[in-house]
Structures are given as structure tokens and as C-alpha cells.
Symmetry: C2
Subunit: 272 residues, 2 copies
């Protein structure tokens, strides 16, 4: 019998389902030749809702001719028991790991719903929202006010990924991330913008391969001097020269995601 | 023997460690009386690095007088085997779930590192970055150009959480999320801003409890008319009246995180 290459996957949670999806996604990406149809059922909070999910899973299995795969992060054990009656291959995150963790810690878990992505932990959450507001107000060198409050200040030539990285640092880690463009005037002067001098320990640089930068800038301003390969080569070389001279740590963002860049910055600057 | 209330937790991954941390965090939040010191070790990619991690875990265990808890998402089995030699309580996602999933699918997994948060899946990643740029360019009604491209348009009075929610929708789900403020002029006119009329099916409203709004606005502009409880009550009542009249779906963001708001919007608008 040939291996079926299409499967339906459900992510079921009494919260947002983001954790169930992160778990499932990290596993499913290990099977690159299978096409997964992914369905998220969040906020499952009642017996009726659980029974509805079972009906939906079973109907999908009949339509597919193949039982669905179900990832659950259901804290409520009664609802989990209902969902697990579905004719499906169920991987249950809490059932698998909570009991051994309880044994290790020597205490019972609280079985509380929605603690991961709720506002329960409100000082953490408030920090994240404040960090997002700070980062938006300090994007692309808009202002040099309150830089003393920044956790990190990204510097790079235009279109290296400063803005999305700053926002990710704020949103995911609650870090106040300012960012400043390095521009030809800085290179002509041969030194850092004065306003950044006194925050040197917070600086982190991004660089990029010139041909990749050329490609990105062409999408934005085709056939401009700004986007030309020669200019991209010049700006990148000057920015790297400046960062090397000033002792600024940096990384090449060409093939990295904002998650990878952000994680590296956290490590390098020993933040958190 | 009393239950120890402090434990050190390591999140170890050959990628960013974000999945390991999300999963671990969802379990740890179930033990609210334990104080967890959390250490992330990302990009573990060599035997030396793995041995270094083991040494660090063991040293921490000796310092704590209690073995650490280790969550791993190590795809590389040789490195996982080294880490699991540490004197620690190890929970391994891939070892726990990959084998049963391989059996269910009838194929072997590819054991590829960094597929979750790498740029491997580059069209998805490019969509996310484009969505972030779109969302920044369409924040707070900056422009009504290209609204036809929006996946969702959030409407709300000032300080209901439009901006962070829009950014989360873009960053997490790759959705182009514009947002428009509802302002007293709109209430006086008694109808939606004209530019939004033709995108009615994409509109989603946020509302908030007036006293919560008052509190948030006070932090921004203390003792202003804008922040006064009377004005907050007026604006919220008018906005809800308008959304009800225009048939715009909405939710109350007062006690919800941006993750919860975004997940609800996805469900309601049947996005993705």
C-alpha cells in the first residue's frame, strides 16, 4: 500500500491553541513529503464544544478515508477525555508530560486554563505592550529621546531587517528595541551618530550580503541609485568597517529569520 | 521533606529554542507555587556544545542541590543522546512524539534542524515580513491606500489595543492587518468613515470597558478631557452603537491578550 501523502491535522486547546500549534508544527515540519491540512480549534471550553470537535474530527476522517492526527493541549481533563474518544491519532501534550513533571516536582499541577497566552501574568504582559509602543516610537531613528530606556539599539543600513527584528524582540520578549539606520552621512563622517555614542553597550548591528540587499531594495525602488548593486556593496562595506572599528557586535541577516536573529541578539547581549 | 519551591529549568534546542520554551512554559505555568529559574540554550550544533551544556546543567544542579529540569527539542539524535546524559530530569519532545508519529504516517522523519523558526519555508516567511511592513504602513488610519489588500481592518476608539493586535496578526499569522481609529467626528456623522464602507466584510471591532480605557488613557495624558471617565464612557458607547448598527463583529479587549484577541479574530473572520 502506498504511503498516503495527505493528512488532516487538528490542534485543539482550551486556550488559543498557539502552543498546540507550535508543538505540532515543529513535529510536522519533520515530514516534508506529507501535505498536512491544518485546522485549529481554540477556546474549547464545554462538553458540547468537545462533542462538536469529535464530530468534526470523525467527519473529516470519513471524508479523508484516513483518521486525522490530533494535537491537544487541553488542561481540562474531562474535556480531554471526550476529545480523545474521536477516531483519530491523538498526541496529548499535557497528558504526556504533566504527570511525570508532577512526580518530579512532588506537587500537583493547578490544571488552570489559558495561562500561557492569557493576561493572567499581567506585569509580563504589560511589559510586552509597553515594549511594542516603545519600539514603534523608536523605529528607524525617529527619535533619540529616552534611549536610556532601550534594552537594545539595532543599527544597520536600510533594509537589513531592523524593523521586523525590533518588533519581534518587543512582542516576544518584552524588550525595548530601538533602531537606527546607518546612512552615507555617517560613513562620510567616519564615526557613529553622536546620539548613539553614549549607548554603545546596547548597540547591535545587522549586515547583509550586498546582492541580497540589492534584490530587496530593487523590489522597493527599482533602478534607483539606492538599490544599485554598486551602492549596496559600498554601504555594506562601509557599515561593516564602522562596526568593526567601533567594536559593535553584529550578524549577517541574509539567510536568518527574525526569530533566529532575535535569539542570537539575546545571547550576545546577555539580555533576559 | 518540604517540597522545594525553586527549580532551574533549561530549554535546549538545535534551533532558536522558541518551541522548547513555549512548550515548557505552558507546563510550568501549571505549577504556580514553584519559582522556576529559566535558561535557554539555543543553536546547540556540535558535540562540544552539547558537552558544554551537560557541564552547565550538572554545575547548576550541584549549586541548587536539586537536579535541573531540561526541556529539549533536539532533532539531532546524537546531540540529544549527549544532553540526556546530564544529571537532570529531561523531557524530550522529539523523542517522545516523533516515533509514534512516524509509525502513524508510515514514513521516517527527516530529522532536519531549524525548520520551525528558520527561513527554510521562505514563501511563508516572506509573507510574514510583507505583512509586517503592510501593517506598519496602515497603522492608525495613516492611509486608506491599498485597503483592498488587507486581510482584516480593525476599528476601535483610541487605546483599545488595535496596534499591538494588528502587529501580532501580521507577525504570527502573516496577515495584512490595517487599523483605523473611530473618532468623535465619526460618531457625529453617525456613519462609518467612507473609506471603510467598501471593505465592510474585513472589518472587526475592538471595544473595552470604559473604566479600563480611562485608566490606560490617564497613563498617557493625565487629567485630559480625552482620558476622562465621562469621555471614555461616551466614546465606548458611541463606538458600540455604531458597530451594532453597521453589523460589525467585535469583542471586548479589556481582559484579553493580543494572542487571545488575534485567535478570536481568525475564527470569526474565518481567516487562514
Amino acid at each position: 500500500m502506498p504511503t498516503p501523502l495527505k493528512r488532516t491535522v487538528f490542534f485543539i486547546s482550551d486556550g488559543t491553541g498557539l502552543t498546540a500549534e507550535a508543538l505540532g508544527h515543529s513535529l510536522l515540519t519533520q515530514f516534508e513529503h506529507v501535505e498536512f491540512k491544518q485546522i485549529r480549534i481554540p477556546f474549547l471550553d464545554s462538553v458540547e464544544h468537545a462533542q462538536g470537535a469529535v464530530a468534526r474530527i470523525n467527519a473529516q476522517g470519513e471524508a479523508d478515508g484516513m483518521r486525522p492526527i490530533v494535537f491537544t493541549t487541553l488542561v481540562n481533563q474531562a474535556l480531554a477525555a471526550i476529545v480523545h474518544q474521536a477516531d483519530a491519532f491523538c498526541l496529548s501534550y499535557f497528558e504526556t508530560f504533566l504527570a511525570p513533571l508532577e512526580a518530579e516536582l512532588g506537587i500537583k499541577s493547578s490544571h488552570t486554563v489559558g495561562r500561557s497566552h492569557g493576561t493572567a501574568d499581567s506585569s509580563d504582559y504589560k511589559n510586552r505592550i509597553e515594549a511594542i509602543n516603545y519600539t514603534l516610537a523608536h523605529d528607524d531613528g525617529i527619535t533619540d529621546r529616552d534611549l536610556a530606556q532601550a534594552d537594545v539599539i539595532l543599527v544597520a543600513v536600510s533594509r537589513c531587517g531592523k524593523t521586523p527584528t525590533s518588533l519581534y524582540l518587543a512582542m516576544q520578549f518584552g524588550l525595548k528595541a530601538a533602531n537606527f539606520p546607518l546612512i552615507p552621512e555617517d560613513f562620510d563622517r567616519g564615526r557613529l551618530p553622536g546620539t548613539l555614542e553614549k549607548h554603545r553597550s546596547k548597540l547591535f548591528g545587522l549586515t547583509i550580503q550586498p546582492d541580497r540587499l540589492h534584490q530587496i531594495r530593487e523590489e522597493r525602488r527599482a533602478d534607483s541609485k539606492y538599490a544599485s548593486l554598486a551602492n549596496c556593496r559600498y554601504e555594506v562595506a562601509e557599515a561593516e568597517k564602522m562596526m568593526r572599528r567601533e567594536g559593535i557586535r553584529w550578524l549577517d541577516s541574509s539567510t536568518k529569520s527574525i526569530e533566529e536573529i532575535s535569539t542570537t541578539i539575546l545571547q550576545e547581549l546577555k539580555l533576559r
